[in-house]
Amino acid sequence: MITKEKPLISERRKFFTNMAHNTGLGVMGGLLWAGFADKAKSSPLTLRPPGALDEEDFLRVCIKCGLCAEACVNRPSNINKETGKPRPSTLQMAKAKDEVTIGTPFFKPLDTPCYMCEDIPCTVVCPTGALDLASVTNLIGELDFKMMKMGIAVVEPNACIAFWGIQCDACYRACPLMNEAITLQYDRNERTGKHAFLKPVINMNVCTGCGLCEQACVTEKPAIFIRPREIALGKPGDHYVKGWDSKDQERVANQSGKDVTTKTERSEQGASDYLNEGVDFD
């Protein structure tokens, strides 16, 4: 009988193999976990409660406690006057299938828009500062719901019937900051020659992104909708100046321009040198 002896493993080798085993498992788990975290973070179209920090910082600081959502549903103004019962909360805490980082507060204007309470109960109650009270406090230290920046309304002109020439000012009328956040621009309708387009125009400095317009929109799928500001807004850059706007002029007047010297291979030479390069003057 030949019995195969098990190779002896020294304590030392055992230790190193064990360590490699555990490290490997840890790295594997960590990578899976980090991958999941990255995916869980990517919810760029999410609308956050008033005063929320930038999405990146918000996810870092929000402890997912739900105090804001509770303050939202329990606010004194949230009583349905006919039934005497509280209406659904604007703020929801994200569940696994909401495509929003789980446990974080968000709202869907089409379901329930933000009614912009004057006392902003959701922001006040936040324990971590993920909802920043300073961002909705004005210079004299009062809460100011007009300073909320939850998102911005975007008009989709192809679907908006006002752009077709049909008279509709549903969004304009629904806006809590009527004639400030949405104004109507009267344009001549060349097609008929005698009517006007009443086109809704969003003022990006005033619109809070509450979503009452989106809910009021009469089209089958709303032609005006709320998007996060960093997604919906462009940025022309500081060097474009509205020459017709005295305020914008002031902005430039106070700016101390820095002299910028561009250095390239060509700038090393004088203009007459490189312009004449390769030209045969006989």
């Binding site: 960590g30 975290a37 406690c65 739900g66 696994a96 109650v125 971590t128």
Partner: protein, 252 residues
């Protein structure tokens, strides 16, 4: 259970006794409480936190550290009800006698803590909080359940069919954190081996069996950090050999 009901009613009826969730809450609208592990992860994720949450976490650490021990796990945590359910069914089905034994180290939870903190700092958000069944169940009760309920069923099945006390006793990093916080707490179970008849009912019921290593051998307090102060061993003991006790550091 009471706590969970208070949280639920805070949302449903606007009571102010206990609002928020176990991650962070406020008592009577005044005293902040927050989950120290979540706060730690957030700090690792690079968050600058307000004083309220840090104070809240310190209150919790102080309470469990001085008095309660790991009582969070057995008396507060909602997942404990799920895993207790699994354990109960396990006993009814005599699973322990039938199944293949799977062995996992009970120290995994401590590695999970380290891993959670590393992943938090990489991903820039509290890593355990996005997968934590504790917060999912907690929010589920308060705000309504979503697809996350699947995770709780998974944990129930894991504890039932794979490993006894698999989640709470092996993997859960929050349990690990509370074990570390409560290691030196005053409230402890004490064993009196003179009364012990070695029936081993206590070891059968205990979710962290290893802490009862002195049963029938030495009269001493259960000093291991993993003990959750659940008091089940005290309940099942017919011989008055186990009881709660204030640990006396001056004269052991």
């Amino acid at each position: 259970m009471t706590l969970l009901f208070l949280y639920f009613s805070a949302n449903a009826y606007g009571w102010k006794i206990l609002s928020g969730t176990l991650s962070s809450s406020s008592v009577f609208g005044v005293m902040p409480l927050s989950d120290p592990f979540a706060v730690l992860q957030m700090i690792f994720a690079g968050a600058v936190l307000s004083f309220d949450v840090i104070l809240g976490a310190m209150i919790i650490v102080f309470f469990y550290g001085v008095i309660g021990g790991r009582a969070f796990c057995s008396w507060v945590c909602p997942v404990n009800m799920v895993t207790d359910g699994a354990n109960w069914l396990r006993r009814k089905l005599y699973m322990d006698q039938i199944e293949k034994k799977v062995w996992i180290s009970r120290d995994i939870r401590y590695y999970m803590i380290v891993l959670a903190l590393i992943v938090s700092s990489i991903s820039g958000m509290a890593a355990f909080e996005i997968i934590s069944p504790i917060t999912i169940l907690n929010r589920g009760v308060i705000f309504g359940f979503g697809a996350g309920a699947g995770l709780l069923i998974a944990i129930f099945l894991f504890d039932l069919f794979v490993l006894r006390n698999g989640w709470c006793g092996h993997i859960c990093p929050l349990g690990g954190v509370h074990a570390m916080i409560g290691k030196y707490s005053l409230l402890r179970v004490k064993h009196n081996s003179e009364n012990c008849t070695l029936c081993m009912k206590c070891k059968d019921i205990c979710p962290e069996r290893q802490v009862l290593n002195m049963i029938g051998k030495r009269s001493e307090v259960v000093s291991m950090a993993a003990c959750t102060n659940c008091g089940r061993c005290v309940d099942v003991c017919d011989d008055d050999a186990l009881g709660f006790h204030i640990r006396n550091y001056l004269n052991l």
